[in-house]
Symmetry: C2
Subunit: 445 residues, 2 copies
């Protein structure tokens, strides 16, 4: 299989939406009624293999991304996988540096480009019958380094530095792979969603503890007194030795954040996540200086739009935890750059999970990071949410508070055909049988 | 008219593209073959008035923005103009803080939202038979201050500061309006496009000088020796007393930029524009420190995606010239915030023009800034390009090196019906008679 040509013959792009707002799981101060959704890309080939990727969204707007992905597919239909695997940076540049489309900036454009790149990597890994992490681990340092666009980040990471860093880990890769052959990255989970009562939070914690979790997150950003009360409640529930993190989902400005976060000092938090806007680099610098003596560090990245933003957050020391997302930036090439920058500056990779099948993807990056880039598992936590795992044929699994090492080829992102059929928007059964006003809820809350 | 209700009955969104790459005007190191284009929004009403706005692009991708604008139009069809004018921040929040669409981030989403807001302001100004600058000048300080979303910028500008700043200018507004009643903001023009020979550049300079221009810009970013040679050529051609600026269109990384820009020291440049990525705030801080003793300052903003990025560039002192664009951020509300932040920190507003009819829009902001916000015309230069003015019924005009004060109602953005018909993509005459490979040039250069 790997030696015969694999030609991309057709692409289908599916607008998949799940009416999760019915249950209010996943809600935060901004996203009051999220309907977890994905633009799903299927790249069909003449080999029978299919490249799959997703761009996660929260409902309305999924169609915008589908529109963009369809347009970009023009660049790869008819091409051979081998053209891509010879030098993935070429496709990356054709997309991101496209001389007209680049005007569209980050956001929809970069996410759509990422969908293409991630589907190509999926296809590549499947053609070698490897999970994605194993494909990445097996790449030569020079090859990885050549996947990266250094134009805007070379003041933080040069090609030589990338090669040197990866080479320095090489001697231990086999051992690290063995160590992670059964259990993968240590995981954490949100127990304190905004919509939950204290009793529901406690029940969630106890259930997670039975699965071996010792690291829990709580959503904050509403009322300051209530936030503090809930943090104290969580800390009391989990005891002093468990990790506790809070997440404000960018709800505050810099001055507000200082006031609120100051009240969080006594509770031994590990991190404070997204206190301010995703791209307010100087705001993060200011916060990190203000709270330099606190127990916690700041975490950010799930909505950081590009490696340029990550570069600034990492190099400045403003964030102590780097929360890559698998589908916000332009795919594997961008994420490689970010993980390597974080490794150089000693910032642990703690990826953002959840959504629909995002955890299937981020566990791959956690594996690659901990085997071949940072080369250890001492400081990282990878987000885990068991949400919507009924959608895929290879659900993520946890054991003893860690991801079970993924073995399915590629990202392990195969959706069940029935799930896709029922949740296609707006014609799937789940949506077409809903009252018109419920569908329209996407637009007005 | 202003007192009878004006209801928005219908929206049309037009994908307008001009094959400007035939002439290579407007090209830069990234945008090798730009086809100047616009997503044009027409909001029709039951009053006969039409709200118009554009989002400028460079060809491929215009349809992505059209797609988004059409989706957002659902939020305003059937509404009354008076609902908007009562409190423009409400529509702004419905768009930018939309609980699902906000996931789409900046770029296409924010530009599409800006199209809606700008068309509403156009309609509002037309309902009062005023050019847009006059509508803005006549708004009460408190009203302007209430148009702004302070969530992410209050560490740089509070509502009270905005009100105080605008009030402090109030006593001089009538006089400033009189002073600018015939000639508006001082203009500058690019004479040194990358595609032009020395002779063509010289001819352009002489023609501009006949129109009273004394401020000229040159594109750089190719070969360093050639850049220096061309800067020297331009300086020699215009003499020591004219303003000379260079523009690298984000072509360099931080380290490269330092090397290149260091060679530009001897030529008395006014500014160095976009030496690095549009959102590399810490990169700009580093450059501004490195070149603190140089004649020039740094200029940036035409592709800065949001007020958060502008806040950082302005507050840190990293940029000395703030180059707002009229259609990159979310319309008048965002631009008001940026102009007010710049005024507070003493950074001159030097808007980005060109494209299709962008100058029609930015002259309005130049007027508002110089009459009512900064309240002077001592330091600003507003970009002027006479390109594609045959597209609109109210072309911008210059006299004595200044914009002629615009008098057409609204933005003055009415396109000639014939121009629209011929340039609609892909069915207008200009495109449908082209060979398929020329249309496809959008995708491969």
């Amino acid at each position: 299989m790997p030696n015969s040509p694999i030609r991309i013959t057709r692409a289908s792009v599916i607008d998949l939406r799940v009416p999760t707002s019915d249950q209010m799981l996943g809600s935060d101060p901004f996203h009051k009624q999220p309907d977890y959704s994905s633009a799903v890309l299927h790249l069909e080939t003449d080999s029978g293999l299919r490249g799959v990727s997703v761009v996660f969204t929260v409902g309305a707007g999924t169609d915008w991304i589908c529109y963009g992905i369809k347009d970009l597919c023009q660049l790869i239909i008819g091409s051979d996988l081998a053209e891509f695997t010879a030098a993935p940076i070429k496709l990356y540049r054709r997309l991101i540096d496209h001389h007209q489309l680049r005007w569209l900036h980050d956001g929809v454009f970069r996410m759509a480009a990422g969908a293409i790149i991630n589907a190509m990597f999926d296809l590549w890994a499947k053609s070698q019958d490897k999970p994605l992490w194993k494909l990445l681990v097996d790449l030569e340092p020079e090859f990885v380094a050549d996947c990266i666009d250094y134009r805007n980040i070379s003041d933080a990471l040069t090609r030589d530095e990338a090669v040197e860093l990866l080479k320095s880990r090489r001697a231990n890769v086999a051992q690290r792979e063995t160590e992670m052959s059964t259990l993968g990255p240590k995981a954490y989970c949100t127990a304190g969603w905004l919509g939950l009562t204290d009793e529901e939070i406690l029940a969630t914690i106890r259930k997670l503890q039975e699965q071996g979790f010792d690291s829990f997150k709580l959503k904050v950003g509403r009322d300051s007194d209530e936030d503090v009360r809930r943090i104290k409640f969580m800390r009391d529930a989990i005891g002093p030795d468990c990790n506790l993190m809070v997440d404000a989902n960018q709800y505050w400005g810099v001055c507000e954040a200082k006031e609120h976060v100051d009240r969080f000092r006594p509770f031994g938090l590990k991190w404070v996540e997204e206190p301010i806007a995703r791209d307010d680099v100087l705001g993060y610098v200011e916060l990190s200086e203000t709270f330099a003596d606190a127990d916690f560090g700041f975490a950010c990245g799930e909505q950081a739009a590009s490696p340029v933003i990550f570069k600034q957050l990492i190099k400045s020391g403003a964030i102590k935890f780097c929360q890559i997302d698998a589908v916000r930036v332009a795919g594997v090439n961008d994420v490689m750059a970010i993980i390597l920058m974080a490794a150089k500056y000693g910032v642990p990779i703690c990826p953002h999970g959840g959504g629909i099948a995002l955890c299937n993807m981020i566990q791959q990056y956690g594996m690659w990071d901990q085997i071949a880039v940072s080369g250890h598992s001492d400081t990282q936590l990878v987000e885990y949410i068991d949400f919507l795992q009924e959608a895929v044929s290879h659900p993520v699994q946890v054991q003893d508070g860690c991801y079970v090492t993924p073995t399915a080829p590629g990202w392990g992102l195969e959706f069940l055909p029935d799930f896709i059929e029922r949740h296609q928007y707006p014609d799937g059964d789940v949506w077409k049988n809903r009252a018109a006003d419920r569908k329209g809820a996407a637009f007005e809350v």
